[in-house]
């Protein structure tokens, strides 16, 4: 049945009334190859949306186009309207530096800077000039680490290298570094794929807490994780957005046969 692939419009509810980010007719190309085919999708304010799909389905590409991380790839071209609160993020006049301060990103592999824990978190506020006095900076660092649930583990060794932490701690350090610049949206590209289950649980707990006032889009290969952390789930297949629905619906009764086949492990 997976042979009869029909890419009509996305099924489910891709559009929302109170969207933080709304994407319309997004096409992404790598040179001549089209990686994303006319995607319409809204991301709700302070919601967690999970992007799932098989490898190479374009979910990471789509995620990276949301804060223009694809700009660094010369051959990558993005078409369509990508709006952050009504502002076109691909507007040539838009400055990408403040955009990335508003839309932060956490990566698959924990990538702390080879600096101290303190400097890792303080880096963002420093370059953006968020704290004029040392004491303000200390406060930002402390509250960011607190929010990332790392403060108690590292408060006695703030000046130890960030790379000396365990994998899960490193990932939470990266999240602390991201939230130190108070982003409105955080994009997470498989943030737990390199972590053990306990570290994963901590990060998931963190996602739930952060989503109270931050909008989060998370790409994950773990269906269970998508089911656990997200409110809405979007299923990508071969560059098409096949289905978007409430997570509960997607994981009990998906509308599209492709979604069903993917989440029940029936791809042959």
């Amino acid at each position: 049945m997976t042979n009869e692939i029909v890419y009509d419009a996305t099924v489910g509810r891709p559009l929302l009334d109170d969207a933080k980010m709304s994407m319309r007719g997004v096409n992404v190309f790598y040179a001549d190859k089209q990686a994303i085919h006319s995607v319409d999708l809204d991301i709700g304010k302070n919601q967690v949306i999970a992007l799932i799909g098989p490898s190479g389905c374009g979910k990471s590409t789509f995620l990276r186009s949301l804060n223009r991380m694809n700009d660094t790839i010369d051959i990558c071209r993005v078409e369509g309207h990508l709006m952050l609160e009504g502002q076109d993020i691909y507007d040539p006049k838009l400055d990408v530096v403040p955009l990335r301060a508003r839309v932060g990103m956490v990566f698959q592999k924990p990538n702390p800077f080879p600096k101290s824990i303190y400097d890792n978190v303080a880096y963002g506020p420093r370059i953006h000039g968020l704290a004029s006095r040392r004491i303000d900076l200390d406060e930002i660092v402390e509250s960011s680490l607190q929010k990332a649930g790392l403060w108690n583990e590292v408060k006695d060794r703030l000046h130890a290298p960030g790379t000396g932490l365990s994998g899960g701690q490193q990932q939470r350090l990266c999240i602390a570094r991201t939230i130190a610049v108070s982003p409105e949206v955080i994009l997470m590209d498989e943030p737990c794929s390199a972590l053990d289950p306990i570290a994963t649980a901590k990060v998931e707990e963190l996602i739930a807490e952060l989503s109270q006032n931050i909008t989060i889009a998370i790409v994950t290969h773990s269906m269970q994780q998508a089911a656990r952390v997200s409110e809405r789930t979007a299923y990508f297949h071969m560059g098409h957005l096949v289905e978007v629905n409430d997570t509960e619906k997607v994981f009990t009764n998906p509308e599209h046969p492709l979604t069903e086949a993917y989440i029940t492990g029936r791809f042959g």
């Binding site: 301060a101 990538n111 370059i127």
Partner: protein
Amino acid sequence: MKTIDLVNKNLAKRYRKEKLFRAYGLASIGFGLLCLVLLFSDIIGKGYKAFVQTNIQIEVNFDAGYLGITDTTNTEQMFAANFEGLVKKSLREMFLIKKRSDKRLAYSLVSTDSGYQLHDLLVANPAWLGTTKKVWLLADDDLDTYYKSVDNLNGAFTGRMQEQQLVWIKNLLDNDALQLQFNMNFFNLGDSTEPELAGIRAALMGSLFTLMVTMVLSFPVGVAAAIYLEEYAPRNRFTDIIEVNINNLAAVPSIIFGLLGAAIFLGFFGMHRSLPLVGGLVLTLMTLPTIIITSRAAIKAVPPSIREAAMSIGASKMQVVLHHVLPLAMPGMLTGAIIGLAQALGETAPLLLIGMVAFIVDIPSGVTDPATALPVQIYLWSDRPERSFAELTSAAIMVLLGVLIVMNALAVLLRKKLERRW
């Protein structure tokens, strides 16, 4: 037959091959080490004697009347005094010489510089005026060669020595009037036609000034070029051509750079010949490709995740480069630069073409003083007929190698200090 039996059957053969494979590697390293040991033992064996010099003890009467000096602080008197005559007089008295032909032979036992040595001694010890003192004077290179080889099994090397001189030397040896002393001249003086007065200092300083110019110019330029090419330049035909050309430049024979330097800096800009400045410029041209290539490799080796991390919290391109890429790439860049500079230090050909092959006696004190360089000095000395120069050549090679080792040690130190784990 079971699979495991087949495996066991072939096991011995596989282990034999494995051992052979390892033996090849060991043999290669052994060969390399052997060559190195041969090279070093040859150079050191030949050159270590150059660090000492033969001195002759002579009784000198600092006769104030003869010298016409009343006050040793009076430079005019000191300058006018005939110290050379005093040396000769002392020699005549010492060897009890009557014959005119013997006089010349006796005089040639000491260095041509002996008069100045007496002058310096008297300046240092004003009280000696009017007294008779035994002083050590520098021996001539022929005597030096003879004395250094006097203990050889197959007899001392006599060279141009005359019968009469050998008799005197025998006499001197019996009186313990010959002695080896540390060769200060080698480190303090410039070039000379007399081996006992020839030193490495002019060449060493020339090399250091040249290298300084090269470093100051090539490192920033090379790093800047590498950063631009890696981080900013778009990928297109034009940058491809640049890249290919940089790689080609690294393979261009150095003499071509010499010709280029001669044409541009001497011909077009009309700079003077033999200047460390010009030498540095030429070597900069030669070193740049190496530095650019190694710096680009160092930049490429910075994990992209660090770049992404910085970018994702809103660092601008320049901040990404200055705060993250450059510090992480710096050890690699420095290593590349030092390799490039070490290469430049050993380079002779381009320097010959811009005139750094001149006979330089005065120690250069800046980049605009005529100078020569260590490898050029080695090349020049290796060409001289006097036997002592062979020793000096080896000694100069040792100095060159010493400088290289210091540079490499510096590179390792800098790496250790700057390297950061990620």
